[in-house]
């Protein structure tokens, strides 16, 4: 398998404080990797390094062979090929749902309005929200907004998708509608890197699980191994806390 996302010895500091230490892992094409760990473990920071939303000081990250940290890299171009979904959805509140879906297609990829519209509406339909195309983000529920955000990212035809705690800002009854969309995506063979606490999702969908603690990658193994075999104390503690509720 070729690695779509390859991280080698990535380290990052905020001033004197080291948030990431020597993180090495990879996500193969078509693979679904779940990243978990306690809050403050650096998992969100790690995933934001992949599309250079966070700079890092040491190590290399390759996305489809392109080095993220290289100052010569065309970052907008690289980012336009990687979809990202955020904890707080981050739809643009001043734009209608349709405009949210099309703006980057037109302004970044240079697609025509018709093409962007067709593509956007196709994915909006896929996440089951075609009827809401003319509305504004503030008029949708959290779960609906997050599904639109996924459609928005998919409309860019990404080679991989990054999910940064996509369900942790949602009311419990809305979590599943979002996880269902993500599951469908995984079954279609999308390359996915997901920071999430949803261990049920990890158990069902993930190929591999990465466990982080205090900026280190402590566990990085196949799903079966992570949920089955004995593992480090911190991961055990974390899992028992997560699975209690």
């Amino acid at each position: 398998m070729t690695a779509m996302i390859q991280l080698s010895n990535v380290s990052k500091w905020y001033g004197d404080f080291q948030v990431l230490t020597d993180c090495t892992t990879q996500v193969a094409k078509g693979e679904v990797v779940v990243v978990c760990g306690p809050s403050g473990s650096g998992k969100s920071t790690l995933i934001k390094c992949v599309n250079a939303l966070e700079p890092f000081q040491k190590g290399t990250i390759l996305v489809d062979g392109v080095s993220v940290g290289d100052p010569k890299t065309d970052l907008p171009k690289l980012r336009s090929r990687v979809g990202m979904v955020f904890q707080h959805f981050e739809l643009f509140p001043h734009l209608s749902i349709t405009d949210n879906l099309t703006i980057a297609q037109m302004k970044v990829l240079g697609r025509s309005r018709e093409e962007a519209n067709d593509k956007g509406l196709k994915y909006l339909d896929r996440v089951g929200l075609k009827a809401h195309a003319a509305k504004f983000p503030g008029q949708l529920s959290g779960g609906q907004q997050q599904r639109v955000a996924i459609a928005r990212a998919l409309a860019m035809d990404p080679i991989a998708m990054l999910f940064d705690e996509p369900t942790s800002a949602l009311d419990p009854e809305m979590i599943n509608e979002v996880l269902d969309v993500m599951t469908g995506l995984a079954h279609e063979g999308m390359t996915m890197m997901c920071v999430t606490h949803e261990m049920g999702f990890a158990r069902r969908v993930a190929d591999r699980v990465i466990f982080m603690d205090r900026g280190h990658i402590v566990e990085d193994c196949a799903k079966e191994e992570f949920f089955g075999a004995p593992r480090g104390e911190r991961a055990q503690q974390f899992l028992s806390k997560i699975l209690q509720h």
């Binding site: 599309n51 707080h88 643009f92 980057a104």
Partner: protein, 248 residues
């Protein structure tokens, strides 16, 4: 003491040409609006550019904008006006100096000075509003825009500024009103705007209560109308489902 009230004074002849006092007020209002509108356009454009600069990661650019704001907000408006009107022309190249001091009508050179002065003065205040508006947006918004491949100018153009300008309409409204009120300093360099015409009427007619009452009524009505106008603008650009603020 006897004060001779006469509310009909505005329709009396000024003794200069065929003008009645009301004509003076109308001319004055015209100058006031002409000063304020042009100064506001300058302030809006320059202030927005400076406001964006203030929020950029580039230290030099944000420092320049910060210095501009500190300078223009901490020197009294009247001092700035005197600098623009009395001092700056002396530092212009010879030909421009002749043009400004001799070829232009006195009213025109005063007008240019006050418009530049008020525009640059107000730009510093607009800058701070724009900056506040941009900084009030959640960090996730620019992250999301970058994540879709937007360049820095695109992030501002399509995501940050349209939202920031909506948020700051109320404070911008009061800056807009301030420009009209501040334009009255033009009377101190001889531009015959509303306040100057009022004083002149008070002196010529000796009906100073009536003159100043009319002036305050005009300012009051002007203020109310502009507020209505801005309220209409705010309504026009309102986004459904978004009341006053952005975010979750």
């Amino acid at each position: 003491m006897n004060y001779h009230w006469d509310w009909g004074v505005f329709f009396k002849s000024t003794g200069i040409g065929h003008e009645i006092y009301l004509d003076w007020f109308i001319t004055g209002l015209g100058w006031t609006v002409a000063v304020a509108m042009v100064a506001w356009v300058i302030a809006l454009i320059l202030g927005s550019v400076l406001g964006v600069m203030r929020t950029l990661p580039n230290k030099t650019l944000s420092g320049v904008a910060g210095g501009y704001v500190a300078l223009f907000r901490n020197v009294p408006l009247l001092v700035q006006l005197f600098l623009w009107y009395f001092l700056v022309p002396d530092f212009l190249p010879e030909s421009l100096q002749v043009w400004f001091k001799q070829d232009l009508k006195p009213a025109t050179s005063a007008y240019i000075s006050v418009v530049v002065c008020l525009g640059l003065f107000t730009a510093a205040r607009v800058c701070e509003q724009v900056r506040t508006g941009i900084e009030a947006l959640p960090k996730g918004q620019s992250n999301a825009a970058y994540a879709m491949g937007f360049t820095l100018p695109q992030v501002y153009r399509h995501v940050l500024l349209p939202q920031a300008f909506r948020i700051i309409i109320p404070p911008m409204t009061s800056e807009f009103l301030n420009v009209f009120k501040n334009s009255s300093v033009a009377s101190l360099i001889g531009l015959m705007e509303l306040l100057a015409q009022t004083k002149q009427t008070a002196e010529f007619s000796a009906n100073l209560f009536e003159a100043f009452t009319l002036a305050t009524v005009i300012y009051f009505v002007l203020n109310m109308s502009l507020m209505k106008l801005m309220g209409w603008v705010e309504n026009r650009v309102r986004v459904p489902g978004l009341i006053g603020s952005t975010g979750k």
